[in-house]
């Protein structure tokens, strides 16, 4: 009995190890499915695709730890992409257009945050509304057209290589991981995030500035979405209103798979990074195996349900 609980407890502490195991099994399976999979070139190329999801997942981890959620990240990405592309098309110099895009992302996140904190609304409702609003603005403002006549240097953000093999955006992602990890695990702000997720009311009465923390988190993910949007736009070299459609599923799946409880209070950056890697591997492997994209979405949807179910199952077993 006590041996069993001890094993379970160790399982909890080594959740990252379990995820690492899953990742390795997945890598083996995928390399059996496609001979192209386990090549250095392909593995590095995969990182092109997960950096965007990964950046947003970092912000989403902190938000989910506080018990919140942001469904609007995919739409926000489209909005920023359109903001960058069309302000450039309207003769704004590209560096300024990129800054403008980041500001739009930040402002969109702040907009979510203001609604959530000052009206005491559930993040789910607000971001469901802004999911439609941002998407609609992206479509409407772009008149469903695309901009793709960017100067050559714009490709730097999404298509550059270091030493001929390492995609440039990988460095941005690693830097972001380190910064967000430091914030979450080494600062007072990070402790506030967990405190709010465990018991918001108790946190409030203990002097945690709940509103300010939440405002910072939703603005922060807006900025991360802005960065992801610039990389995305540069990678596909096109600014369109339907960029990032459905990316919120990848992002939320990655975070939940990484062990963050959807009820708030628990979650780690390490877990999220592993979750992002697993989903990227899965997506890339399925593409190489010739599985159509709608099926990938099916797999992701089921994976999300299984991951949450297992999370809550193990959490209840521990209690």
């Amino acid at each position: 009995m006590s041996a069993a609980t001890a094993v379970l407890r160790r399982l909890k502490f080594s959740r990252e190890v379990v995820l690492l195991g899953v990742l390795i099994v997945l890598l083996v399976v995928m390399s059996l499915l496609s001979p192209l999979f386990l090549t250095v070139g392909n593995l590095l190329n995969t990182s092109r695709f997960f950096v965007e999801v990964g950046l947003m997942a970092l912000g989403m981890t902190l938000i989910i730890i506080t018990g919140g959620i942001d469904l609007s990240v995919g739409s926000n990405l489209a909005l920023v992409s359109v903001a960058v592309g069309f302000s450039y098309a309207a003769d704004l110099p590209l560096p300024l257009a990129i800054v403008f895009g980041l500001v739009v992302g930040l402002a969109a996140g702040l907009f979510n945050g203001l609604f959530i904190t000052f009206l005491d609304l559930h993040p789910l409702v607000v971001t469901l509304g802004t999911f439609a609003l941002f998407q609609g603005l992206a479509y409407g403002l772009s008149r469903a057209e695309a901009v793709s006549d960017f100067p050559a240097w714009f490709a730097y953000f999404g298509q550059a290589y270091f030493l001929n093999v390492v995609p440039g955006q990988l460095f941005i992602f690693i830097l972001a991981v380190v910064v967000v990890w430091l914030i979450l695990s080494r600062t007072r702000f990070g402790r506030y995030v967990y405190a709010i997720g465990n018991n918001e009311e108790a946190a409030h009465f203990s002097g945690v500035p709940v509103r300010r923390v939440k405002l910072a988190l939703y603005s922060g993910i807006g900025l991360l979405v802005g960065m992801a949007a610039v990389i995305y736009t540069s990678r596909v070299y096109t600014a369109r209103g339907d960029s990032g459609l459905g990316l919120e599923l990848d992002v939320i799946s990655a975070v939940v798979l990484g062990g963050a409880s959807i009820y708030g209070g628990s979650g780690t950056i390490g877990g999220t990074v592993l979750g992002v890697l697993i989903i990227a591997t899965l997506r890339n492997g399925l593409v190489l195996a010739g599985v159509p994209s709608t099926w990938q979405v099916f797999v992701l949807g089921v994976l999300l349900l299984v991951a949450v179910f297992l999370n809550e199952f193990f959490r209840r077993r521990e209690e």
Binding site: I69, L71, F115, L119, D120, L121, H122, L124, V125, V126, L128, G129, T130, F131, A132, L133, F134, Q135, G136, L137, Y139, G140, R143, A144, G241, G246, L249, I252, V256, I262, Y263, P292, T294, W295, V297, F298, V299, L300, G301, V302, L304, L305, V308, F309, E312, R316
Partner: protein
């Protein structure tokens, strides 16, 4: 002050409470908004207030309204269902496949309802037994069911739905087109169920205060489970209306519908946090969305702005809900 005037304050205060009682009704702001819009649109476009245009608005919201009536119950329970878009697609595919092979109305209808109820039951089981938040369950199902549609159809359209199956979308009864008739009929049914059945009352209790409901011995899991199944059943019925109207099913049928449904319910005045709302709110919200989308077309606003308008409306509705409750001093 004088004796002659004495009854007047009493009467005006009685009026005051009547007005107040009306104002605290969940669907009141939506109804006022609807009235204002009807006046504004009819002033700005001659075509708007014609009988045929008004009926075509009601026909156009029949699918949306039918599903909203059921999702209303889920939201009253304090849960949410955003899988209805894909669920509608799946029901339409299943019903369409049966219709093309057997014809008739009853068999496709039963198929659609059965498939919907099954999908709703999966939602309900994952929420109640799996104890996963409904937003995550139905987000996962939104994508999973879309995958199932591709599995069933192999990516091809279903065309050639026989006319006898399409009657719910094309025919009319007593001078009312069938989609409108079905919507109003289901509205009356839900109004009665909501007011007079045990389950209908329990839905309000569970959404209003789940802990108290559990302590009072209410079967909170069964109440919530049934509301998810009800969504499936209504989605099944709506899919037959859709089949009748469209005459074919594509793999992307119903995409984005889930958002309109949730928008209709919260715009109508049912509180997203559960426990407060009414059947009339869901219907009002659906009609309001129909009127707005129709009005935008008449005013010449391009269709690409639809999502933005919908999103702004959801935010406006939830904001109004919060502000109204604060003004009326209702803390719950």
């Amino acid at each position: 002050m004088s004796e002659a005037q004495a009854p007047i304050p009493a009467e005006s205060s009685a009026n005051g409470t009547a007005l107040r009682r009306w104002l605290v009704r969940p669907e009141a702001p939506a109804l006022v908004f609807l009235a204002v819009l009807l006046v504004a649109f009819s002033l700005s476009s001659d075509k708007f207030l014609s009988g045929s245009n008004l009926e075509s608005i009601l026909v156009s919201v029949a699918v949306l309204g039918t599903i909203a009536l059921a999702v209303n119950q889920v939201i009253l329970c304090g849960e949410i269902d955003i899988s209805t878009g894909s669920m509608m697609g799946l029901c339409a595919v299943a019903a369409g496949a049966v219709a093309t092979s057997t014809g008739g109305l009853i068999l496709p209808l039963l198929t659609g309802v059965a498939v919907g109820a099954l999908a709703g039951a999966v939602n309900g089981l994952l929420v109640t037994l799996g104890r996963i938040p409904s937003i995550i369950v139905t987000l996962g199902m939104l994508y999973a069911l879309r995958g199932v549609i591709l599995l069933v159809t192999g990516g091809t359209w279903i065309t050639g739905i026989p006319n006898e199956t399409r009657v719910l979308g094309t025919g009319s009864v007593l001078g009312i087109e069938y989609p409108v008739f079905v919507l109003l009929f289901l509205f009356v049914v839900m109004e009665l169920v909501s007011r007079h059945s045990t389950w209908g009352r329990n839905v309000f209790a569970v959404g209003g205060n789940r802990r108290a409901s559990r302590l009072a011995g209410l079967p909170i899991d069964r109440v919530r489970f049934l509301s998810f199944v009800l969504v499936g059943v209504f989605v099944g019925i709506a899919s037959i209306i859709y089949l009748g109207r469209a005459g074919s099913v594509q793999t992307n049928t119903g995409t984005g519908l889930e958002l309109q449904v949730v928008a209709a319910v919260v715009i109508g005045g049912t509180s997203i946090s559960g426990g407060r709302g009414s059947t009339l709110a869901a219907l009002t919200g659906a009609v309001l969305i129909g009127v707005i989308l129709n009005g935008l077309i008449l005013l010449g606003v391009p269709g690409i702005w639809q999502d933005a308008v919908l999103g702004a409306l959801i935010l406006l509705a939830v904001t109004t809900d919060v502000l109204r409750r604060r003004l009326l001093g209702d803390k719950s």
